[in-house]
Amino acid sequence: MEDYQPTIIAFVCNWCTYTAADLAGTSRLSYPPNVRLIRVMCTGMVDPKYVIKALLEGADAVLISGCHIGDCHYMNGNLKARRRVKLLKELLPRFGFDEQRVKLTWIGASDGIQFAETITEMVPELKALGPNEVRNQMVL
């Protein structure tokens, strides 16, 4: 599939990664337009349901990104997120969702470059994986 453009759903925390994404945008850092940002207050509020939902509806990957450990505005939300991502990474690959389709990163508010790089790196990886099977299957 030459033209296949993966779609990444990114749950980004209000305090760090959303700021970084905004900085990447306003600094004109070029990165692929394959990401849809969903701003959440904290990565610690990302319910596993949201990730499962996104993948079942055809997202090619889900990125969860928040403050570095220790920087969390709410002290430890990112630590909670990390455990949930660990769970999802055990769970979802059982059903053929490649492990790479769920990604966790810590991107601080001033790391606009890192945000752009993260997306830039994800896109070819996802292209190599091919589209999420769900796109062609009847599931829900």
């Binding site: 349901k49 630590l79 990390r82 059982r94 059903f95 299957q137 829900l140």
Partner: protein, 381 residues
């Protein structure tokens, strides 16, 4: 060293002796009631009963190869709030383990309960048990126990023990206050009684049972039973993994799910008052369905079945104790237990968590630490 005693078995009828034991137990001052499975008179079915009158223990049969529900749920109801007296609850290992999970989730309390666990020889599904039992429940139970302990097959005609039981590697309720041992014991002579906790010890002291020591063959018999089950389990894991290895296969696996949610109702550790999938969160607008359908041209109705099962796995797989009640409850014979146990084996391992082991172990998603799972973010915090 745990204290060990024995229940002497007379007339080669372990069931009668057990009933005698329960009577003695109930006669103890500190025991207000006993929760124990009984053959119910109206129908040949075995259900948990809460007994305060020692005379009403004649129908008890904790050895019957059936359990229509995981009794952890009723123990949770009994102990959720102060009860005003201690209850001895006679449970299978998987029920005890489920109860321990529920205690962690504040759905029950250990304070007013004495856990009496009996070595579990397995059970048939509800449907198969009805075919197995015949007219005399007690007789069927004895027949079953003698057969199993003699090493004979549990298969009858075209059916056998439920897959959950065959794959269960926890036949011995090590975390009960009082354990009644059958495996590797000549139950026509005696049954072992072992106290695993101070509470159990104190109780055992009062019962004044004759002392005993663990038969030499018991450990070996347990190991061999567990080995057998592990072998079955691993085969089941392999088959289930294969059957659900991609989303298409998983969809087929769950194709006849009708969103009845019986599995989650039957599940002892699914403790929500109301599952989120039956709340307004999933009350979609009619237009929404159309929108989804338009996207791919076709969607399966009812929707959210795969979503439901994966979400339930996310919520409960770390706590799954493998009792198999989900499969038992499914009207469309979806092998839910197999799926749960297969996935659980991974999620539980990931967090080095063994559900039902001890109330001291925190549920994996309720705790978090610095410096863990660094591999998720490229080794860095």
């Amino acid at each position: 060293m745990a204290k060990i005693a024995k229940i002497e078995v007379k007339e080669q009828n372990p069931l009668n002796s057990l009933q005698g034991f329960f009577k003695t137990l109930l006669e103890q001052e500190e025991i207000s009631a006993i929760l124990v499975p009984q053959h119910l008179p109206m129908k040949d079915v075995v259900m948990p009963t809460l007994v305060t009158d020692p005379e009403k223990l004649n129908g008890t049969d904790p050895l019957a190869p059936v359990f229509p529900m995981n009794a952890a749920k009723v123990v949770s109801r009994l102990t959720g709030k102060p009860l005003g007296g201690s209850v001895a609850v006679v449970l299978r290992p998987c029920e005890i383990r489920a109860f321990i999970e529920l205690v962690k989730l504040k759905q029950g309390r250990m304070e007013e309960v004495v856990l009496v666990g009996i070595d579990c020889l397995g059970a048939y599904t509800n449907v198969d048990y009805r075919r197995f039992v015949g007219d005399d429940g007690a007789e069927a139970t004895l027949r079953f126990c003698q057969n199993v302990l003699a090493g004979k097959s549990t298969a009858v005609e075209d059916f056998d023990l439920s897959p959950a039981c065959k794959a269960c590697e926890y036949p011995v309720p090590e975390n009960a206050d009082v354990l009644i041992g059958l495996v590797g014991v000549d139950i026509n002579q005696q049954m072992l009684v072992k106290a695993n906790t101070p509470q159990g010890e104190a109780l055992l002291e009062k019962l004044k049972l004759p002392e005993a020591k663990e038969p030499d063959g018991r450990k070996k018999a347990i190991d061999s039973l567990v080995a057998q089950r592990v072998e079955y389990r691993d085969k089941m894991f392999a088959e289930t993994t294969e059957a659900t290895s991609n989303i298409e296969k998983l969809t087929s696996y769950l194709a006849n799910c009708v969103n009845c949610f019986n599995c989650r109702v039957a599940c002892p550790v699914c403790y929500c008052k109301e599952c989120v999938f039956v709340t307004d969160v999933f009350d979609h607008e009619p237009t929404q369905y159309l929108r989804w359908a338009k996207r791919k041209g076709i969607i399966k109705m009812p929707t959210d079945t795969v979503f439901f099962h994966i979400t339930r796995l996310a919520h409960m797989s770390t706590a799954c104790i493998g009792c198999g009640q989900c499969s038992n409850a499914c009207p469309n014979n979806i092998p839910v237990m197999q799926l749960f146990r297969t996935v659980s084996s991974h999620t539980q391992k990931a967090f080095e968590y063994e559900p039902g082991r001890s109330v001291e172990d925190d549920p994996p998603l309720s705790i978090f630490r610095e410096g863990e799972f660094l591999e998720l973010t490229g080794g860095k915090e």
